[in-house]
């Protein structure tokens, strides 16, 4: 993991001091709320429906056990004993007191964390594959590049007041777990013919009210050119992105208007002018950062472990967890383990302080002290020896963290919705709870197989409904909460936009509709066909008939 040096420490400490001064000025009335607003937003502090909300960055989703303990401490000391892990690998606290937020930020700074650029029209937390550095299918670990981008984008003199927020995602594996095609910029690490590492560069993806899948603009960008190329991409956007309408200000709209060819031409022209200016960091710096992400010292061992097989044969729930929540590690004899934050009937992405402390302890005991946060709102122990899986599972299960549903229908992404959010039209969390209660049967879930449900409580689509195999969008219909059903989206390498099936439903009707859609799939699927593949083959009509009748 990356460790701060004196420069990094000085940076976050200076930021805390600055914010403390801003809060003081606000508390004394020297700043009006209007003047304070842009300042607090630059520190991830929102004013929500009931209280302030503080969004803390977990850069590229990587946490140490000690950092997780600090997150637990903040939840306990300054909040109501829980935190909410978000779809952008951040954590949100829903009940901080304004006067205490500088103290929270100082505590976080002490463990090398911050809330810098978790909101505002700037480059946000760079996200990546939650299995980075562990996944068996990885070309290269994307995190050193994510850290380089984190540093380059922090307090960037030119790109801190963009037309709109800006999100960059990187993946190092062919199987895209970071939804790179749904980002303003997506980077895909790959090897060229000579074995050199570089990036495919995609641009112009995004959700919101205008969902767009990113387009490829460069097949191979060598690693040393990464930052200067990003700088050229951001400069053209900063200059020409629309500023007259916040709903048309994202880069996807600019690229749609000028065309990806013209955007690419302008970026390339600018890049030619700057590529030799020392924006890109010295080679030694890349090496320094890479060294922090050296693979942990895991001993290669046999993939078949007798105790694991025996327990799996004796205990169906463990077998299900092993099947769904433990994935292939690049070092034989190991697995990466997804800790589901989606207990049936629970709130997707929430974790209590005690659960966070436990995960920290388990990371120390079983996963080299490392934890990851996924954009699917789960926690991951990236480096677990297979022989430790039974003990790990027992401890998780005892704490309510053993839900064996990773990747299944009840592993739902949901935004905070009207329970917290000032922008929401409808609640999201209760819909997720109702669906998980309706499908509370592990055997049935495993029979249904991989199925991603994503719920947003408004068109801003923080719940990624456009990318859901089944997407649910809450809208306000003459004062009533109404839920639209969308099918066929994907956030993976085969990214696609979900399409609305028909008229919306009330909060009970939407759960019935999901059940009917699943029933059609089970009836129509061929062999091992996944829900998404079946939908793509069948098209919407057969689902429409089942849900709305044939009249």
């Amino acid at each position: 993991m990356y460790a701060y040096d004196t420069y990094d420490h000085a940076m976050v400490n200076a930021r805390v001091a600055e914010f403390r001064d801003q809060v003081d000025r606000r508390m004394k009335g020297e700043l009006t709320e209007e003047e304070f607003r842009p300042l607090r937003l630059m520190n991830g502090l929102y004013l929500q429906l009931h209280a302030y909300m503080l969004r803390v960055a977990i850069p590229y989703g990587t946490l140490s056990a000690d950092q997780m303990r600090k997150l637990a401490h903040v939840a306990r000391r300054y909040d109501k004993g829980y935190g909410h892990f978000t779809t952008r690998q951040n954590i949100q606290y829903n009940w901080p007191k304004l006067s205490e937020t500088p103290d929270i930020l100082q505590e976080l700074a002490d463990v090398e964390m911050h809330a810098i650029q978790t909101s505002g029209n700037c480059i946000r937390n760079v996200t990546t594959d939650q299995f980075a550095g562990a996944a068996a299918d990885e070309v290269a670990d994307p995190r050193p590049y994510a850290e380089l981008i984190r540093q380059w984008s922090t307090f960037h003199p030119e790109f801190s007041f963009l037309p709109r927020k800006f999100k960059i995602a990187i993946t190092g594996a062919a199987q895209d777990r970071a939804a790179v095609k749904w980002h303003d910029i997506g980077l895909v690490l790959k090897k060229n013919e000579t074995g050199e590492i570089g990036f495919e560069v995609l641009a112009g993806g995004g959700m919101g009210r205008t969902p767009v899948i990113a387009k490829s603009m460069r097949d191979f960008l060598p690693v040393p050119d990464m930052l200067s190329y990003l700088e050229a991409m951001l400069r053209v956007y900063n200059e020409q992105g629309r500023r007259d309408n916040k709903y048309k200000a994202r880069i996807k709209i600019l690229i749609d208007a000028m065309g990806i060819e013209e955007y690419t031409r302008q970026v390339n022209a600018e890049w030619e002018k700057i590529r030799h200016v020392p924006i890109d960091v010295p080679e030694k710096e890349v090496a320094r950062i890479k060294a922090f992400f050296a693979p942990p010292p895991l001993a290669v061992s046999a993939d078949d472990v007798a105790e694991v097989t025996e327990l799996a044969n004796a205990n169906f729930i463990f077998k299900a967890w092993l099947n769904n929540n433990a994935g292939a590690h690049k070092v034989p004899g190991h697995a990466h383990v997804t800790i589901s934050l989606k207990p049936h009937g629970g709130i997707p992405g929430d974790a209590s302080d005690a659960q966070m402390d436990l995960v920290a302890d388990l990371a120390d005991a079983y996963s080299q002290g490392e934890i990851r946060v996924s954009h699917e709102q789960n926690l991951i122990l990236p480096h677990v020896a297979k022989k430790d899986l039974p003990a790990l599972w027992a401890k998780l299960d005892e704490a309510g963290l053993g839900t064996a549903n990773a990747g299944l229908l009840t592993d739902i992404i949901a935004c905070p919705g009207l329970d917290y959010c000032a922008l929401a039209n409808t609640r999201s969390i209760p819909i997720a709870q109702s669906i998980t209660e309706r499908f509370d049967d592990l055997k049935r879930l495993m029979d249904i197989g991989p199925l991603k449900i994503k719920i947003s409580g408004c068109i801003n689509s923080c719940g990624h409904h456009h990318a859901g195999h089944i997407g649910i969008l809450g809208v306000d219909r003459r004062g009533d909460e109404n839920y639209q059903l969308l099918l066929g989206g994907s956030g993976a390498e085969d990214a696609s936009k979900a399409a609305i099936l028909g008229p919306g439903f009330n909060e009970v009707g939407i759960v019935d509709a999901v059940e009917k859609v699943v029933a059609v799939y089970l009836g129509e699927r061929e062999d091992e066909e996944s829900f998404l593949n079946a939908y793509r083959r069948l098209g919407p009509d057969v689902f429409k008939e089942a849900v709305y009748g044939t009249d």
């Binding site: 003047e35 922090t154 003199p157 030119e158 007041f161 700057i274």
Partner: protein, 174 residues
């Protein structure tokens, strides 16, 4: 209004020239980019120093024809969040090698002081009420991750030199 001096440059005194007025001999005048694009060499020869009033809607390519004739530039921010002003300053320094004073006007906020300096601005016109906060903001951070037009080396580079950023950081605001 007061002027915050970010770089220690000698700030330019100038007259904002009315639309139909001509500069007096040797007078420093500020004129819109649109007008400057239509002026001939006698205009530039008569005035002492010519400055461009640059709105954030200006395309940097429009500055190409006038940049080398400018003595100073005034970039007007219509709102503090209009970040095009930062790119315009960067373009002036980077694309046109502009060495004269770049001034920011408009409702920029104190917390942008270092961003302005680093993007290439020399001076900022601010309300008297904000003067103190602006000056305080200038000494907040010892260093940054980017090399910039204020003459700062990036932390990434400083890490690998003997001197680093030095004890007090790279620079002091004057």
């Amino acid at each position: 209004m007061v002027l915050i001096n970010l770089t220690g440059i000698q700030p330019t005194g100038y007259t904002l020239l009315a639309d139909d007025a001509q500069p007096k001999e040797g007078e420093n005048v500020a004129v819109s980019v649109e007008r400057l694009l239509g002026e001939n060499s006698s205009f530039f020869n008569t005035a002492g120093g010519v400055g461009a009033i640059i709105t954030t809607g200006t395309a940097f390519s429009d500055l190409d024809r006038i940049a080398d004739k400018l003595a100073f530039a005034v970039i007007e921010f219509p709102a503090f969040g209009d970040g095009r002003g930062f790119s315009l300053a960067v373009r002036l320094r980077k694309d046109f090698g502009f060495k004269g004073e770049i001034r920011a006007t408009g409702p920029v906020i104190p917390d942008q002081a270092l961003f302005l300096l680093r993007a290439g601005f020399d001076t900022v016109e601010v309300t008297t009420k904000r003067k103190q906060a602006f000056e305080a903001a200038l000494s907040r951070f010892p260093g940054f991750y980017q090399s910039d037009f204020g003459g700062q080396t990036s932390i990434a580079h400083a890490r690998h030199t003997v001197e680093g950023l030095g004890v007090e950081g790279h620079r002091k605001a004057s």
